[in-house]
């Protein structure tokens, strides 16, 4: 805009922005402060603690009743395997949709579009009953096992990711493959040696987004897991504070800080892609 902006207006602009930044930062700083405050209570907490201590962080790794370190490890493990598996399945599925013309291609694309409209979470009752029944046949992937959660996440992410991946692969010029074909490359070699390396950027981004989504997922993990040492961080932390918040605020804050940092770093890595319309298909991050 080429309008003339008076000075008072500029100052007002900055003031409004700083006000919003305070709104943004306050909860984070408040929890950060609580995490270093040995008082471990919501009562009368000052913004700057009188005494700095790591006792809350120590509790995280020593508590017998609430194994935070195990929860964090479970979350990372589940998210890593589920994202890897989901990206692998997605890449395989997207490749023929982008490159070949085959019977059922259009209907297949349409089905994927249709299915990904309904969040998998809506089927929580059915998934719970499904794994309850699977348990009587294969206890290793039944209720209260990590494999159950992992394959649930893997299946849930395929729809929307296949569309994104296919869209990206469509932009890779075909001439490279044609050249490779003339040089005698087999079908799988073309996929493995050409398409896969050229898709690296999107593979990375999808992996990170999938990781964040799995790590942050709550309800399916809550439904499928029940013993304390198998919970994910999201479920464990909620149960931890739902029982009694007043006397656990400091320890919770420490867990919140540790749990948020890896995701903040990952998020900063892919934020440009998120802006350029990555989540545009699916809405907002959970």
């Amino acid at each position: 805009m080429n309008n003339y902006t008076p000075t008072w207006m500029k100052i007002l602009k900055h003031a409004v922005i700083w006000l919003t930044i305070v709104f943004c930062m306050f909860p984070i700083l408040w929890a950060l402060s609580a995490s270093f405050n040995p008082a471990n209570t919501l009562v009368g907490q000052p913004l700057i603690p009188e005494e700095i201590s790591f006792s809350n962080y120590e509790t995280l790794f020593t508590s017998q009743q609430h194994p935070f370190a195990t929860w964090l490890f479970n979350s990372v493990k589940i998210a890593l395997i589920a994202s890897f598996g989901s990206v692998a399945l997605t890449t395989l599925a997207a490749y023929p949709f982008s490159r070949f013309n085959f019977w059922g291609r259009r209907n297949g694309l349409f089905m994927i579009l249709l299915v990904q409209v309904f969040p998998q979470m809506l089927a929580m009752v059915a998934l719970y009953l499904l794994f309850l029944n699977v348990q009587t046949i294969f206890p290793a992937i039944g209720i209260n096992t990590h494999p159950a959660v992992i394959i649930t996440y893997m299946g849930g992410a395929i729809g929307v990711n296949t569309w994104l991946m296919k869209g990206y692969m469509d932009t890779i010029p075909r001439s490279i493959e044609d050249a490779a074909f003339i040089d005698g490359a087999s079908g799988f070699q073309i996929f493995y040696r050409i398409i896969l390396p050229l898709s690296k950027p999107i593979l990375g981004v999808l992996f990170v987004i999938q990781f964040i989504a799995s790590y942050s997922e709550y309800v399916l993990a809550r439904v499928l897991l029940n013993s304390t040492d198998r919970l994910t961080l999201a479920v464990g932390l909620h149960l931890f504070v739902a029982e009694d918040y007043g006397g656990r605020w400091g320890v919770f804050s420490a867990a919140a800080m540790l749990g948020a940092i890896p995701i903040i770093i990952l998020f900063m890595l892919v934020q440009d892609h998120i802006v350029t319309g990555f989540l545009s298909g699916g809405g907002v991050k959970g």
């Binding site: 805009m1 994927i112 499904l130 299946g155 918040y245 007043g246």
Partner: protein, 518 residues
């Protein structure tokens, strides 16, 4: 060609491992008589082997793994939800009819003949089997119970040996008498032992004795009724429970097809429909408020930041998107602590500046207000990023032309910026509506959908949205589960989601995009 052969061997090896696992599963399913799943599995095995062994169907080799996952973990659960919504699946109706019949037929009563038998158990090392010597407490008759058969014996039967000569039998056919502690170790086996005696059944009563029992109920398959063997009363299956003419019901119930009953309950039963209606209305209000507030603040900040000359823009941007980078479950829980009505910081600030403290989390209106605020914090950075992108795509010429025509800042916003941003972001705003419509995490983690609605028969809270309501119907501890009703509510969410998305597809031409792939 060497590498091709290696690859071929690898493929065959993987397929062999898969087939081994699949056949193993098939055997388990066969033993469990789970024929439906077995049939699906067999079809699956055939399809997978065909696809990977045949030289045709090349694309299917890539698509199949993902398709299987999607069918098993998304499509099937969605369809299964549809099915559940027409059943009474839930607490008291967990078993299928066959299992419920087995359970009811396993119920016994003590007949008028209250005969009891002291027992001694005999066992040989390394052999599961246990022999019993039973003595009638009334008349002292002796019985030998071996391998499910009972036979009356006399005290001088040659098989009964009293090796220590203390008047007690210690050995039968090489089986040694068990001491009390050993009986406890083997109680699981002894408990399972049954002997036919007259027209009753003899089974373990406690650690010392056996007694006569009779089966209470028998199922008549032809007429589909459960018969009480004492009174010959008949119980007919009504809505998943065997019920007699007086309306008495037998437990456990079983799951059965109910038709539209769950849906009717949602509309007609006032104890269910009134809270449900409130949840329904709030879900729409919530989704709409969420989109409007986050988009409003996001667009406003984007306009402020859309000024290349402004200092610190980059820093501002990073600080402002920080809430978006933190996993929502963590920030919602932090806000939950801050809104704690007695000790939380929000009320402390309010009191310090001379205002009343507010009953956040206890009062429906204020909890909803807090939720909208929390969701504004979570969601505006996304809207800001989208708006910044949209603003950059608006040509500066438009504003120049407006300036020449003498348009005010407000007019520029109202007639240029807002319409163009809305057109560019419309589909994303609708997607955001759909997302918040099902934003389980914020609602449930903040206050579990509470405070409760007074007088509600189902666990419906004042801040519950449809999806959190279905969760509470299904899994809230202490209330029992009503999977059928929960699935019926889910069907409504399906329907609304489908309408919203259809609208959005029309808007974005996503369906045309599919057609372009001709």
């Amino acid at each position: 060609m060497g590498s091709l052969d290696k690859k071929h061997i690898l493929k065959i090896a993987l397929l062999a491992i898969f087939n081994a696992l699949a056949v193993w599963s098939a055997i388990i399913l066969f033993v469990q008589r789970n024929y439906v799943i077995l049939a699906v599995l067999v079809v699956g095995i055939i399809v997978i082997n065909y696809v990977y062994l045949s030289s045709k169907s090349y694309p299917a080799k890539y698509i199949l793994p993902g398709t299987i996952f999607m069918i098993l973990l998304v499509v099937f659960p969605l369809l299964y939800t549809v099915y559940i919504s027409f059943t009474n699946y839930g607490t008291g109706h967990i078993l299928n009819k066959e299992q419920a019949i087995t359970r009811i037929e396993a119920r016994y009563y003590r007949p008028e003949d209250p005969r009891e038998f002291d027992f001694k158990a005999f066992k040989q090392d390394d052999i599961e089997d246990i022999k019993l010597l039973l003595e009638d407490q009334e008349d002292g008759r002796l019985f030998l119970g071996i391998e499910g058969e009972i036979e009356e014996v006399t005290r001088d039967d040659p098989r009964l040996l009293d090796t220590t000569d203390d008047g007690e039998i210690d050995e039968i056919n090489g089986y040694q008498r068990l001491e009390r502690a050993e009986i406890i170790q083997n109680v699981a086996v002894i408990e399972q032992m049954r002997f036919a005696y007259n027209d009753s059944e003899m089974r373990m009563r406690d650690l010392n004795s056996f007694a006569l029992y009779r089966q209470s109920f028998e199922y008549d398959e032809e007429r589909d009724v459960m018969i009480d063997l004492r009174t010959w009363e008949e119980y007919r299956p009504i809505e998943g429970r065997f019920t007699n003419e007086e309306g008495e019901q037998l437990s456990p119930g079983f799951r059965t097809y109910l038709g539209w009953e769950n849906y009717q309950e949602l509309i007609t039963d006032p104890r269910i429909s009134r809270p449900f209606f409130r949840v329904f209305v709030w879900t729409f209000q919530w989704a709409l408020l969420s989109v409007i507030t986050t988009f409003g603040l996001g667009l406003f900040l984007a306009i402020l930041l859309n000024d290349q000359a402004m200092k610190l823009v980059k820093l501002y941007r990073v600080l402002l998107i920080l809430p978006y980078a933190i996993p929502a479950f963590i920030s919602v829980l932090i806000w939950r602590g801050m809104f704690n009505p007695t000790v939380g910081i929000v009320n402390r600030i309010l009191v310090n500046i001379g205002l009343e403290s507010i009953p956040w989390l206890h009062n429906i209106f204020w909890t909803r207000a807090a939720l909208v605020l929390v969701n504004l914090w979570l969601g505006f950075p996304y809207m800001m990023l989208l708006s910044m992108g949209a603003l950059q795509s608006i040509s500066g010429n438009l504003y120049e032309a407006a300036l020449i025509d003498g348009a005010s800042r407000w007019q520029q916003f109202r007639y240029i910026t807002l319409p163009l941003v809305l057109v560019a972001l419309g589909p994303l705003l609708i997607a955001s509506f759909a997302f918040n419509f099902n934003n389980f995490n914020v609602i449930y983690l903040f206050n579990e959908g509470r405070p409760a609605i007074a007088g509600a028969q189902t666990p419906a809270g004042g801040t519950d949205i449809l999806i959190s309501y279905t969760y509470r119907l299904s899994f809230e501890a202490g209330r029992g589960s009503d999977f059928g009703l929960a699935a019926a509510v889910t069907m409504l969410i399906f329907f609304i989601t489908a309408v919203v998305t259809w609208f959005n597809f029309k808007f974005t031409g996503a369906l045309e995009e599919v057609k372009e792939n001709e």
